[in-house]
Symmetry: C2
Subunit: 233 residues, 2 copies
């Protein structure tokens, strides 16, 4: 019998996936070690390693040194969402993008904001409020606090040619951040700005980004009713 040849890490990965889906390897089961698989597949261990490591990153395999590799008992699906600039989202839908800066102030943020950003309550921040439009229709509302200690140049920017959303990505890189998705009923003000009924269910993104130990910006994006965020598994 001729040994099947799997010459690329992708083909090894496909074969491993096939075995999992065909239930040759069931959830929780220990699979052969890299060296054995390499021999069986007629490739090097590095190739098997790459295939298995990539599958482990998707949550389908659990790997531990010495303990070996198992098919995940509870495959935790990892959905990767691309959080892009709003302009790109709108343009990807084939619509014309536009934005309006509706409010701007340099003032002390509320306690909740300075606390979340771990900034002194005494220092001013730049507050921005903008409306994003798709084909002239309200698409999303943006409420943003910018830490001027980290991004002093923001004071000089007018945010008319380029939205604050986009400007910050380009001028204020972040090392890490957290993001939360939720739903809320439209307030009177939101309803007016978005042209919907008060109380309408709105999809919301809250994001807080950091550069090293300093908070860069805190933003809340409120989408018009019906907004969906989709991705593949």
């Amino acid at each position: 019998m001729t040994k099947p040849q799997f010459r690329s890490w992708q083909s090894v990965q496909e074969e491993v996936l096939r075995r999992i889906h065909a239930r040759e390897w069931t959830p929780g089961a220990l699979i052969p070690n890299e060296a054995d698989l390499a021999e069986e597949f007629g490739c090097s261990r590095a190739t098997v390693n790459r295939a298995l490591r990539t599958l482990a990153e998707t949550g389908l395999l659990d790997r531990r040194r010495k303990a070996g590799t198992r098919v995940a008992a509870q495959p935790v699906a990892k959905a990767t969402l691309d959080i892009s600039v709003i302009r790109m989202d709108v343009e990807a839908r084939g619509q014309r993008y536009d934005h309006q800066l509706t409010d701007r102030a340099t003032t002390r943020p509320p306690m909740a904001v300075s606390a979340a950003m771990q900034a002194p309550t005494t220092s001013d921040m730049l507050f921005l409020k903008a409306l994003h439009l798709a084909d002239g229709q309200p698409y999303a509302l943006e409420d943003r606090w910018v830490n001027l200690e980290v991004v002093p140049e923001a004071s000089e920017e007018r945010f008319d040619a380029i939205s604050s959303n986009e400007w910050l990505l380009r001028h204020a890189p972040y090392t890490h951040g957290d993001i939360a998705f939720s739903a809320a009923n439209a307030t009177e003000g939101e309803a007016q700005a978005l042209g919907c009924a008060p109380g309408a269910a709105l999809f919301i993104i809250d994001r807080l980004t950091w550069n090293r130990s300093k908070a860069v910006t805190k933003v809340r994006i409120v989408f018009a009713p019906g907004h969906q965020m989709r991705t593949v598994l």
Copy 2:
């Protein structure tokens, strides 16, 4: 001058990140090729490759053969959400999990469902409705259609010891799927089941999973008001 040594791909990655954050390499700029970086860092090209490849996966770098590697002009943040079994979510919050199967039928799905699942409108599917509880309080509502052609065993299962949510993950592996997040106002029925006011904004997950070319299950999970889904960037 002694050449700094970067002996692991992680340390190379950190140095690359440092240069990007310090704006030594600005968005859109072409960075040196792998061979040059390897020499500069005193490591092999494979090590640099792994560091850069991983950064490209996060969207921070754009890489193309022959064209080289650039710092992404529009860094598309990739937020990875762990979509786990609801039981695990609840238990991770330190709450007691429970579930009730509130409805069950083997019937023809509505057109919209059979169309989305690319199944004949004439064949029956298993319909399940369940309430997930956290510390006895309503946590989420689940509406599910199961393709019995793909998972006939589901007919025999009572879904009392184990939720349909969890049972399917274990017994009906999928090759791919899509998922959508949105917000909607609570219907009368949802409000009653979740113990909230009608019209309350609810966070919703719609998921459709496939095994090869066959739809496995279509599920809609409606969370109680206030639900957040969070992750890091």
